[in-house]
């Protein structure tokens, strides 16, 4: 019974594919977090709550009879302005302070968002039905819901779009310049205030896309944001800042890791194992760092 996954080869394939599709979605959320962490040195605890809010936008479109897949266009648009709003109200006051202050501030925003969403949308678990079917492989022994494939595809499109935008556009260049050296960028005429606001907005927009996809693929609930924050935090820690291929790879790795942990350790340890992995990686990084220092001596 135990380790069923190794007895049935199709399950291994199923778990790997499920993990990769899930991981691509995680990577999108993590990409937003890495961007804003790199540019503004802010770890956004409210990341997951922005995701859920984006999900609600798609859900309400679904209620109004619009296909929720349009949420991936509408939701980031609205969320961009939510992000800029949060920046103008709170983040611009903590952006130059140390990391601890900004973690506290975003933690506060996270709690506020949870309660507001609960107040406004109610405590019911909701979902948006896309009506997409299922892709069956190998005589129905491996099933991939089309909604998951759609999610992964859209995530990739947005991620690539953003990379190109960062490389080519004027704002993208300004964002990268600010990330490298905010002071020098300012001297050279970059309006860093505007860049920060835009960065926060773009991050929120990415969360909006991810949220819309989650409402189509899974379920949403006002209090469900934190696991998404943790996962994206972890992906960024593993990949490092400004390392986009790393974020994509570690996202998929985490997705597959979660699926396999589910089969091998049991479902109850699925999220727990993510935390454990986070601790192990932090310890390992610290260990590596201390070795490096010794070497330098």
């Amino acid at each position: 019974m135990d380790f069923l996954i190794f007895q049935v080869p199709m399950l291994t394939l199923q778990a790997t594919l499920d993990g990769i599709l899930l991981g691509i979605l995680f990577a999108l959320i993590a990409y937003g977090m890495a961007l804003q962490w790199g540019v503004m040195n802010i770890i956004n605890i409210a990341q997951g709550d922005l995701v859920i809010l984006g999900g609600y936008i798609a859900y309400f479109m679904y209620l109004w009879g619009i296909h929720p897949a349009w949420g991936v266009i509408v939701s980031p648009f609205i969320m961009y302005f939510v992000g800029v709003g949060i920046y103008k109200l709170v983040i611009n006051k903590v952006v130059d302070r140390d990391l601890f202050i900004s973690i506290l501030a975003t933690f506060g925003i996270s709690i506020l968002f949870m309660q507001l969403m609960n107040f406004a949308f109610g405590a019911d678990v909701v979902l948006a039905n896309s009506g997409y079917g299922t892709t069956m492989l190998f005589d129905n022994s491996v099933t991939l819901p089309n909604s998951k494939i759609f999610s992964a595809f859209i995530s990739i499109v947005f991620a690539i779009g953003l990379v190109v935008y960062m490389k080519k556009s004027k704002l993208g260049r300004a964002i990268r310049a600010t990330a490298q050296n905010a002071r020098a960028a300012k001297i050279l005429g970059v309006d860093t205030e505007k860049v920060y606001a835009a960065t926060f907005g773009i991050n929120a927009a990415l969360c909006g896309v991810a949220g819309a996809l989650i409402s189509i693929t899974f379920t949403i609930h006002p209090y469900m944001g934190l696991p998404y924050t943790i996962r994206s935090f972890m992906i960024v820690i593993v990949a490092g800042l400004g390392n986009l291929p790393g974020v994509a790879m570690s996202g998929m790795g985490l997705g597959v890791f979660e699926e396999f942990a589910d089969y091998i350790l049991g479902t109850e340890f699925r999220i727990g194992s993510v935390f454990l992995l986070l601790v192990l990686i932090l310890v390992y990084r610290r260990f590596k760092l201390s070795r490096k220092r010794e070497y330098l001596k």
Partner: protein
């Protein structure tokens, strides 16, 4: 000197205010019996908290308008003081303390959920305040030896064991293979215990036994395992999230099981959110409007449902019905005790033996209702899936439709 005087007069003013407010809120004021309840109006239980409150209010209005409660030759009316516990057990316990020691409430109505009831029960027990609760089904509530706790609902371990019996019956009396996934909370784990007992009783084997973390909204791995091992019955309990996630992913992954048994289908508005995909799911319910129980206040289940719908504009879930029943129990106990003495009312509650529209009510020594079986309904839809209904299929005594078994495979649906 002058400041001291001001402070002194300020303090005495507050003291005066407090003393008057305490007396004005005492248990029985004039012709009013004041009940207290901490209830989840905000936070994660707020939707079910509101169902509970609506159920209480509906019964209070009905009893008051039909003559109230007669004690010692005088007629009294019910009134409830509510506080919002924010779905937080610590807050709930504080509010119970406040209701009893500050507001002087001597009779309590339960909150929503097993967890919050667990937090409040030690407080009511400490003060010897009788509490009739309608929304805490966890078995652990009834094994602590509480003397002042009474629950009108059947305990959680009885929710789905009927389904196992049904599966065995359909299997020609032979043991079945069970796959199960339960959330890690007091209630769902009690449901699980019931299944374990049923499995032992029938000699059935549990081949998958997953525990779902409460943050999880993805059951793909569990369901892939189910697909691989092909059990006779799949049991899922994880509040509304569990029910919604399970149905979505079972449909998407085309998981074929002969029987699917769940909890919280009506709270999750399963058939509304999922339509035809939810068809054939078996759901445990404390109550269903088509059951033929009767009382003189609400008539029967159908009438209750119609009246509730008229007042609150939605179909009553069982959470509302059982909450209304709690008030009927209190009224009955007050009249039999013919007193407002807490001890006497408690003894009268313990001796309750009555029928309400919600079901028969008779308390065991632990406080749980032992006279009302759970019912199982099955979601049944019309051909195009535009309209789905919950039809009672077990126990046979109450069945309004025949169980469809096994569930047709996805390739035929």
């Amino acid at each position: 000197m002058k400041i001291n005087k001001i402070i002194l007069s300020f303090i005495s003013a507050i003291a005066l205010l407090l003393s008057t407010s305490v007396t004005s809120f005492a248990k029985v004021v004039g012709d009013k019996i004041v009940l207290g309840s901490a209830i989840s109006l905000t936070g994660k239980y707020s939707s079910n908290g509101v169902h509970t409150q609506n159920g209480y209010n509906m019964a209070v209005d009905r009893i008051n308008s039909m003559g109230g409660v007669k004690v010692g030759g005088k007629t009294y009316k019910f009134e409830i003081i509510y506080y919002d516990d924010e779905s937080n057990p610590k807050r709930a316990a504080q509010l119970a303390e406040r209701l009893i020691s500050q507001d002087g409430v001597e009779f309590m109505l339960g909150p929503y959920s097993s967890g919050l009831t667990k937090a409040i029960a030690p407080v009511t027990e400490k003060y010897g305040v009788p509490m009739v609760e309608a929304n805490g089904a966890s078995r652990s509530l009834f094994t602590k030896g509480y003397k002042y706790l009474f629950a009108v609902l059947a305990p959680a371990n009885l929710y789905l064991d009927v389904a196992i019996d049904l599966a065995v019956e359909k299997n020609g009396g032979k043991p079945v293979k069970i796959a199960q996934a339960f959330e890690q909370d007091a209630f769902s784990q009690d449901v699980r215990l019931g299944i374990l007992e049923a499995a032992e009783r029938t000699g059935s084997k549990i081949i998958i036994d997953d525990k779902l973390p409460k943050e999880l909204n993805d059951m793909a791995a569990t369901l892939a395992k189910v697909k691989a091992v092909k059990p006779d019955v799949l049991v899922v309990s994880g509040h509304t999230k569990g029910a919604l996630t399970a149905i979505r992913q079972i449909a998407e992954m085309k998981v074929d099981v002969p029987m699917l048994a769940m909890t919280h289908c009506d709270a999750a508005k399963l058939s509304k959110q999922h339509g035809k995909n939810s068809e054939y799911a078996l759901c445990a319910s404390q109550w269903h409007k088509t059951l033929s129980y009767k009382d003189k206040f609400f008539g029967n289940g159908m009438k209750y449902a119609a009246d509730f719908e008229k007042e609150f504009k939605y179909d009553p879930p069982y959470q509302a019905a059982e909450s209304s029943a709690a008030l009927l129990v209190f009224k009955d106990a007050f009249e039999r005790a013919n007193s407002f003495d807490k001890k006497k009312v408690r003894d009268a509650l313990a001796a309750t033996n009555m029928q309400t529209f919600y079901g028969n009510i008779k308390f065991a020594a632990g406080g749980q209702n032992v006279d009302k079986p759970m019912v199982l309904f099955q979601v049944m839809c019309n051909a195009d899936g535009s309209k789905c209904e919950n039809k009672v299929v077990a126990p046979t005594k109450w069945a309004s439709a025949k169980l469809i078994h096994p569930i047709p495979s996805w390739s035929e649906r």
